[in-house]
């Protein structure tokens, strides 16, 4: 089903780490701290400027992997990883894309479950990697059957 699509990727999409969005995001996770929001306070930190919360890259547009065919409903988020080279700075422009890194199936009590691994990359304006995010999406038996029709 998805196995023959491993390695397919989306095109790069330009995103901006917008301060108003960082503020709303930080508030929504109960973490509205000066290090994310306040330029003056953040100037005294090791970063010298506001940074984004560690899970903020979920807000970025990573484009679409051609013909991936994942349904909009019924998927379960199984695992999530972020790996950073450096913090993400508020106000910076980044370029994002993703790839279907792996797909495998496991037989369990409730039938055959599919596991899709999406590898996402966030690069800065000079093309340097800032952050990699990996997401494991679980596709249950019912959704899997629907997809292979």
């Amino acid at each position: 089903m998805l196995r023959d699509k491993i390695g397919r990727r989306s095109g790069r999409v330009k995103n901006r780490v917008e301060s108003g969005w960082v503020q709303r995001f930080a508030e929504a996770i109960g973490n509205a701290a000066p290090v994310f929001l306040d330029e003056e306070a953040a100037a005294a930190t090791a970063h010298g400027r506001p940074i984004a919360p560690v899970t903020f890259p979920v807000t970025f547009d990573y484009g679409q992997i051609p013909d991936l065919g994942l349904p909009p409903k019924g998927l379960i988020h199984g695992e999530q990883t972020f790996r950073y080279r450096r913090p993400l700075h508020v106000g910076e422009t980044v370029y994002c894309h993703m790839e279907l890194k792996d797909y495998y199936e496991k037989v369990g009590k409730s039938g055959t479950m599919g596991f899709a691994v999406l590898a996402k990359r966030v690069e800065d304006e000079s093309g340097e990697l800032v952050c990699e995010a990996e997401q494991v999406i679980i596709i249950n038996e019912a959704v899997r059957k629907e997809m292979s029709r």
């Binding site: 969005w21 709303r24 995001f25 508030e27 929504a28 996770i29 109960g30 973490n31 701290a33 290090v35 005294a44 930190t45 090791a46 970063h47 940074i51 919360p53 560690v54 899970t55 979920v58 807000t59 909009p72 409903k73 019924g74 998927l75 379960i76 988020h77 199984g78 695992e79 999530q80 990883t81 972020f82 790996r83 950073y84 450096r86 913090p87 990996e134």
Partner: protein
């Protein structure tokens, strides 16, 4: 704040309890994250998906847990953060967010992190790697 030399493996951060989880928490997170999967906000959709009720976004819990480390971000950054979502978070749940220093190698500290509900069921489990960029400022 502790100096880096004072930290030892096995030390726990002060846990934080969040909740009871409200629908508004999840509506706010949906808007702020752009994840509008309706199982997180609309009862009918959650039922149709075979769930006992609307459930929190896993990323809402993961995001909340990261607040345990915010006091260190003046002098450090989160280099790695990975979790497995092990259980559902439902409306009304109270979630305890915990972190224990597992090991340290120079300026790189690895914490085991967990989120546990009011019935002591683990809903999220993982690791977070903090890299210190400088010695934390001494505080009162």
């Amino acid at each position: 704040m502790k100096t880096l030399a004072e930290w030892k493996a096995g030390e726990a951060l002060e846990p934080v309890v969040i909740g009871p989880v409200t629908r508004l928490d999840l509506i706010r997170y949906a808007g702020a994250s752009g994840d509008f999967n309706p199982i997180h906000t609309i009862d009918e959709e959650a039922r149709l998906a075979g769930l006992p009720g609307i459930i929190a976004h896993g990323m809402w819990t993961m995001g909340n847990l990261s607040r345990l480390f915010t006091p260190f971000l003046d002098s450090a950054f989160i280099k790695e953060y990975s979790v497995r979502f092990q259980g559902m978070v439902l409306l009304g749940d109270r979630i305890t967010l915990q972190a224990v220093l597992e090991n340290r190698a120079g300026r790189t500290f690895t914490f085991a992190v967990t989120a546990v509900n009011q019935s002591d069921k683990t809903v999220l489990k993982g690791h977070l790697v903090l890299e210190w960029l400088r010695e934390p400022p001494a505080s009162e």
